[in-house]
Symmetry: C2
Subunit: 305 residues, 2 copies
């Protein structure tokens, strides 16, 4: 089954303790697609400026990402410049230039409107709602968001929550949105507003998936070298939704495996700048890492007599 993703396609300039990269391809829809395309067909909707090196998206196109919904507008592409210090868990934004992204109005091509899985990456909740008006009863809609929209578009975001099945957000955002320091309470607050599933991402500390009746936790994979954390969250979402779309199965057992596929993709994303590692790995790498996650948390619950 196909996944539709609507989000940013950007140029990132990143400094980490291990090096720097200038104007490499980035953006939420890009990372999401690079991860999800290992598992299923992806349809991407976004916008770039007339300065965008489109040939660098060939790596996505050749993996089956349909770029027919990638609009090219006059002006500058969305650029983000950031830095990570030794605490790789938080980025310091040095510069954000929205460029053509500031006038983005997502237009979902006719051929994309029946995608059974939809991921609304982190964009203005008003635009996320516009996307939902253009699609035809998807099987599962997930959305992401960020502090900026929680602050400036709170009521639109609450309307959006009524219309999605699943929300991904990080721990700080969950606390900000719900005004609860406790993540269990924060998750319940969100579940009360519509979604059946809430995924709270804690970066290097893993991710929780909450439903009304259950909690699932996946650690982040303990890597020796985290090279560049940019895009880990969107790669997680790509692995997660990609797995669900591949199997078409949204049972609890499948959702749990999907979280692990998401965590695996997040762990690959941080091993190189940009989508470098995500476009290099194959299915064997992915299943090996999923098994490594299994070894990481496995224990027998029963006491010996």
């Amino acid at each position: 089954m196909t996944v539709l993703v609507v989000g940013s396609v950007a140029l990132d300039s990143v400094e980490t303790p291990f090096g720097r990269a200038d104007d490499v391809i980035g953006g939420s829809a890009t990372f999401f697609s690079a991860a999800a395309s290992h598992l299923t067909k992806v349809q991407l909707v976004g916008v770039v400026g007339d300065d965008y090196p489109l040939d660098r998206l060939d790596a996505l196109a050749s993996r089956g990402v349909d770029l027919a919904g990638l609009e090219r507008a006059d002006g500058e592409s969305f650029r983000w410049r950031g830095r990570y210090r030794h605490d790789l868990n938080s980025a310091e934004t040095l510069e954000t230039r929205l460029g053509v992204f500031s006038h983005f109005r997502p237009k979902i091509p006719e051929a994309f409107r029946r995608a059974p899985f939809v991921f609304l990456a982190n964009i203005d909740p008003r635009l996320q709602l516009e996307v939902l008006r253009q699609v035809d009863r998807p099987k599962l809609v997930a959305c992401d968001t960020m502090n900026f929209w929680i602050e400036s578009r709170r009521s639109d975001l609450l309307t959006l929550l009524e219309q999605v099945d699943l929300v991904t957000l990080n721990d700080a955002e969950a606390r900000q949105l719900t005004e609860s320091a406790n993540l269990v309470k924060a998750a319940r607050w969100i579940l009360d507003r519509g979604p059946t599933h809430v995924i709270i991402k804690k970066g290097e500390h893993g991710a929780f998936m909450f439903t009304r009746d259950s909690v699932f936790f996946a650690p982040a994979y303990p890597l020796e070298d985290v090279f560049d954390p940019t895009g880990a969250g969107d790669s997680f979402a790509g692995g997660f939704i990609g797995y669900l779309a591949r199997t078409g199965d949204v049972s609890e057992a499948s959702m749990r495996r999907a979280v692990i596929f998401g965590s695996a993709m997040g762990s690959f994303a941080v091993e190189r700048f940009s989508i470098g590692r995500l476009t290099e790995i194959g299915m064997d790498d992915i299943t090996n890492r999923v098994r490594a996650f299994h070894r990481l948390v496995s224990f027998e619950a029963e006491l010996p007599p």
Copy 2:
């Protein structure tokens, strides 16, 4: 099998967002014993002043904690006063009065010297080494430490590492000791100095157990109400070593279950002030929580065809 613990027996005064408690029983050996005594016999070595309300330790004695090694010295008991704000992961120490603890020289009673499991709680590494000179080839020795000793007693601590099987420390302490920001590298650095197992505790973010060949991760249990985090780490150690001593089994599978028993005990400890919750629970509560941990992380690793 019996566990010997050497550590502090203190009076804590704690403020949290949910209330305050004054001069309640605390200390590393106290929390450790309250947790471990659910699983096995415990022998405690420590010191209190002539002002200590010894009757409040009846809750431990009645659970089979042998207090014959608890020395009563002239002077004031060890007192700690601290505060937790909404971020319950870090305590703010308002006052520490070592009292009789500042002259503590652990004397291991003859009857305690053959305990097969030994936990050297967080005290001066020179005293931890003195304890090791008094015991008779235990099956497993574990130690804890803290930032103060890493800073002031580094060479003694390195000597200690050569003589223990297992170290527990928190993530900040692991980074400080090894001068490595990455926990995988930090763990390897420690393993290179002697221990076969390193447990790195991350508070609300769970705990890693590293060996040369494996990594195991246990999340912290997602509680709705973390009432008072004091003693969680020592309760973890009590559950962990207590489980090993109960089974006498130090295989990898057993060590993994032990980490979960430790995590369960840590999760109970934070539900009340002092050892309130730990002395209230029974074996059913413990096994139920261990099963809840299993549900929290369980997933099937194999892809459907």
